[in-house]
């Protein structure tokens, strides 16, 4: 297991380096003149030059690249153009708020989606299975901001059941915070429901057709025993993988949801940075989200290796 983990960590570091390079290329190589991009076409040349010098974007690209890789490695993400303060504390606070929202969304969606997937798989091709598949396709098709607006109109404005803005009053207790986050979290949960349910269904159908499941049934185990001991463990492996991959995606969707519900998390911070052309903030945000994604896939790989020894033995060979 130790070898598996160290190998997997090494791969994550390589991916992280490539990711930082991609972000560097977008932010520093694509624009000819970073200062000009930020200040716009009408700013005097002197202020553009001054800004470039302040940001270090007047240096040769290769020097900038080495410097930016060093910064990524040492967690020094520079200062915001707009506020002049270090971006990291600001992003960390936003990340905590987004994590609450994303965590609640996952908490809402994972149990329901897995249950629906298992239920559908065991009734394959019957009307109820067709219905769940159709529901899955539909729910993963609707962008979060569309679900969000529909929820606001129906639940928030017409029925007045939940607050339409997600930011709770300061020092609110946990139930109140959940009440405020429930609607945005639901908007995100609906998109993931489709992915997770379909993946669980496909994984379960495959396992149900396998020889070992048939053997287990034929040796006289009850359905519950077969499901618990033989089916679930193997059927949920692709589901774990898809949940991890969705974590990266989660942070794409969260931008629109936070905009609708005016919630000051990672998404709003990124959107505000985009409007202000605050490139250090945007690049730091992209890299931090990349790191979160790496950690999530790492955790998923560990879980999968734990669930199925063949995966870790394969990797060690």
């Amino acid at each position: 297991m130790a070898r598996f983990i160290s190998r997997r960590l090494l791969l994550s570091l390589i991916t992280l380096w490539l990711l930082a390079t991609i972000v560097f290329v977008i932010a520093n190589v694509l624009p000819n003149d970073v200062g000009r991009t930020i200040l716009g076409p009408f700013a005097p040349q002197e202020s553009v030059d001054a800004l470039n010098q302040k940001l270090g974007t007047d240096r040769p690209i290769i020097v900038q690249y080495v410097d930016s890789m060093r910064r990524v490695a040492t967690f020094d993400y520079g200062d915001s153009y707009v506020s002049g303060q270090a971006v990291l504390p600001q992003l960390a606070a936003a990340m905590v708020r987004s994590a609450k929202l994303a965590g609640l969304a996952l908490l809402l969606t994972i149990p329901v989606a897995i249950a629906a997937g298992l239920f559908a798989a065991r009734r394959r091709d019957r009307p109820v299975d067709r219905g769940i598949v159709l529901l899955g396709v539909t729910s993963s098709s609707i962008p979060e901001f569309v679900t969000g607006t529909i929820l606001v109109v129906v639940v928030g404005v017409q029925l007045k059941l939940l607050p339409v803005l997600a930011t709770p009053p300061p020092n609110a207790d946990i139930p109140t915070q959940i009440r405020y986050l429930l609607m945005p979290a639901t908007a995100m949960a609906i998109v993931y429901f489709g992915y997770i349910a379909r993946m669980t269904r496909a994984g379960t159908i495959e396992v149900l057709q396998s020889d070992y499941t048939r053997t287990a049934t034929m040796k006289g185990l009850t359905t519950g025993q077969v499901m618990r001991r033989h089916v679930l463990r193997n059927a949920l492996i692709p589901t774990v993988a898809v949940i991890a991959v969705q974590v990266g995606y989660l942070f794409g969707g969260i931008i629109a949801v936070e905009k609708i519900f005016n919630y000051n998390g990672m998404g709003q911070t990124m959107l505000f940075a985009a409007q202000q052309k605050d490139i250090p903030m945007l690049t730091a945000g992209a890299i931090i989200i990349g790191i979160v994604y790496m950690l999530a896939t790492l955790a998923a790989d560990m879980t999968m290796a734990w669930m199925n020894p063949r995966i870790r033995l394969d990797a060690e060979r």
């Binding site: 396709v137 962008p143 569309v146 404005v157």
Partner: protein, 296 residues
């Protein structure tokens, strides 16, 4: 297996020589048109294409003309009400698909063409090329599409062309991964070995032998990517970096009007939002039907 879905004329088989391929194609099509989801999806997409093409010729009012009345609730004159500038919401929803139905297919096509080429090369040559490219693909997959699109559009400035390129490039690694795994299972088959023994070149084997056999997953991927492209472009427009005013684009309309929902003005937001939902769902219904029919 030939997987094209072009309809073939029904009737007695004219030429038995064309047979097998045409037969398979006809079979696939016959199975497809028996799926209500496939029909429904196509009807909805076709409907939006028709309203986009006919545009002002069939809208009840000019979608850009302002009545200076501000928000009016839905009424017999304005079925979906009017927006903040007094423009007829129904007319704008009808022409709102225009930009996204041009941009999204182009972005999907770019992603699928580039991704298929990359996937073919990665899957066939294996070795160092595959290892290096796989790592790069994985790094791209770690990036949230919407955030990277946001960053790129801020840096390059937003225009439909840049939106197509950014979304297309961000889709490339996803397609490459799908095509690569399809190629991996094909390259071990006898027909590839036979071609190698005949002394065919790599590019020939890839384009003439392997590619036709991975066309199935590619067609499915194209449809799936089309759905995601609409999803992504709509989200980018909603975030203000996609299509720009005065475009009647649905995502942009929602973004311009969603603030008014709290004061009870829901119609200029809800109808474009439902239009987006209907289009992406329709495309995904088609994609899902293709996937289950072609993978059987």
């Amino acid at each position: 297996m030939d997987v094209s879905v072009t309809p073939t004329p029904v009737g007695p088989m004219a030429n038995p020589a064309v047979s097998e391929r045409a037969q398979a194609r006809r079979e696939t099509f016959r199975v497809l048109i028996r799926r209500p989801a496939f029909i429904l999806g196509n009807v909805i997409v076709l409907g939006w294409i028709i309203t986009a093409v006919l545009g002002e010729r069939i809208t009840p009012y000019d979608p850009f003309n302002q009545f200076f009345a501000g928000h009016l609730p839905p009424s017999p004159e304005h079925w979906m009400g009017t927006d903040r500038l007094g423009r007829d919401v129904l007319s704008r929803v009808m022409v709102g698909s225009r930009d996204v139905l041009i941009i999204a297919p182009l972005a999907a096509m770019l992603g699928v063409i580039a991704g298929t080429l990359l996937g073919l090369v990665m899957g066939y040559y294996r070795g160092t090329v595959d290892d290096v490219l796989s790592r790069i693909v994985e790094a791209f997959l770690a990036l949230p599409v919407v955030l990277i699109a946001l960053l790129t559009l801020v840096v390059l400035g937003t225009s439909p062309f840049v939106v197509v390129c950014v979304v297309g490039i961000l889709f490339t690694p996803i397609v490459a991964r799908t095509v690569r795994s399809a190629v991996l299972s094909e390259r071990q088959l006898d027909y590839v070995t036979a071609a190698k023994l005949r002394g065919e070149s790599g590019p020939f084997i890839l384009s003439r032998e392997i590619f036709p056999n991975v066309l199935g997953p590619t067609v499915v991927e194209m449809t799936v990517r089309f759905g995601y492209a609409i999803f992504t472009v709509a989200t980018l427009s909603f975030l203000g970096v996609g299509l720009q005013p005065p475009s009647p684009d649905w995502g942009l309309s929602v973004s311009e009007e969603y603030n008014n929902m709290i004061s009870g003005v829901w119609w200029p937001t809800l109808f474009p939002a439902l239009a987006i939902a209907s289009t992406v769902i329709a495309v995904n219904l088609v994609a899902d039907s293709l996937q289950s029919v072609l993978s059987e």
